[in-house]
Symmetry: C2
Subunit: 223 residues, 2 copies
DNA sequence: GTCTATAGAATGATAGAC
DNA sequence: GTCTATCATTCTATAGAC
């Protein structure tokens, strides 16, 4: 179909332009010029500029969320319905980090688009992210099963901090590279994943360990 | 001067409208209507819409950064040039969190504007944030003095994660409240500060303790 | 059903009178 | 320093060709 061709051209051109220049700088006219289609085609196929952006973002989000849930499910099955907390956290932040970081020149258009989306956060994208809560609840459930002694509040804060570290590192990767004069290697994705998972795991378990071994913990803290 | 009156009215009206409705939804015409001034006055006093936003953001940023540095300086003076790491981290994230969180109905226009700025991150604001590196280097210096045994890489990652947790919690405070069904109390600002500082401190010191007491750490990890 | 051409409404910016 | 009038650009919507 010619329809599908036009639609696909628009999506590809839009993703490329948004990835390179950001949402604020790219007009519909830029997109249709790049895609060699008519201006009205965008409205015909997507309804509006915002819905075009939403479609791009939803497509990529679904892929990432599917990966996350697959990793989570696999881990829980292997553990008989209960996965280690660090494996759960890895399933939560790994796909996103792997999708967005890595050597600059190897980054796909999709990856650069998702980085842009996490930096600029325009209204249509914010609306979609707000519907992500049900997805996160699945991780909350797994974390509860993994750490039955932890209170819900601690679980929620742990998840919040894990996502915080992952997303902020993506958002501010350029600034961290500049600040550290390249000493923080953001191309080494697995190292970044390990750091985020390690800190989030500590946040979720540290108090518990100390509570279980108060004397040793006190002794350790004293020196 | 009538000039100053007009200028001030525009700033106040713009901050209020942006805080309430976001950068994308507020036009210059909305602002001049709210401020009871002429449309051309914005351009005359600020040059462009972006420069108006920049002026608003810079004013608030400078105030926060001043607070941060004051807390940092005080802490280092009290410690004879070397402050405890948790006090340094508190100086880093405390002012921002205190400025943006707290009971919704008590939040000042300035606070709501800064939350909006951290959520939407429009181009003029991003440009200003990119110049914040020198400010952060002062904290890097203090952290190095506080933890002379830690490598630079660890220090940079620790600062990155501390900022990540603070900013993400502000950005996504609504989502965290909804996800946790109110169990995470974001109105209790000092509790939030304590949580962020605690996790960041662990991230910066945990490995060190284990390295110093490998046998005990291994034993603890095994059970 | 698919696409083009074109009109309409809204916005940021500016020139020039006062 | 202030204001009116106006411009260029943008997104959106629709009438009608294929």
């Amino acid at each position: 179909m010619a329809s599908d061709q036009t639609r696909t051209s628009i999506l590809a051109a839009a993703e490329r332009l948004y990835a390179d220049r950001g949402f604020g700088d790219v007009t519909l006219r830029d997109i249709v010029a790049e895609a060699n289609v008519n201006l009205a085609a965008v409205n015909y196929h997507f309804g509006s500029k915002d819905e075009l952006i939403a479609e791009l973002f939803v497509t990529r989000s679904i892929a990432t969320n599917r990966e996350r849930l697959h990793e989570l499910k696999t881990a829980e099955e292997q553990g008989g319905g209960r996965a280690p907390i660090d494996v759960i956290l890895r399933a939560l932040v790994g796909p996103t980090l792997r999708g967005c970081l890595g050597p600059q020149n190897q980054r796909s258009t999709a990856a650069r688009f998702m980085i842009r989306a996490s930096i600029e956060s325009v209204p249509p994208i914010r609306r979609i992210k707000n519907r992500e809560i049900d997805h996160l609840r699945k991780f909350i459930g797994a974390m509860r099963r993994s750490l039955p002694d932890r209170s819900d509040v601690e679980i929620y804060w742990g998840l919040n901090f894990a996502l915080a570290m992952a997303h902020h590192t993506i958002r501010e990767s350029e600034r961290l590279t500049k600040l550290s004069e390249g000493k923080c290697d953001l191309d080494d994705v697995e190292d970044v994943v390990a750091r985020v998972v390690s800190v989030a795991t500590m946040a979720l378990t540290a108090g518990k360990i100390e509570a279980k071994t108060p004397a040793r913990a006190l002794a350790r803290d004293a020196r």
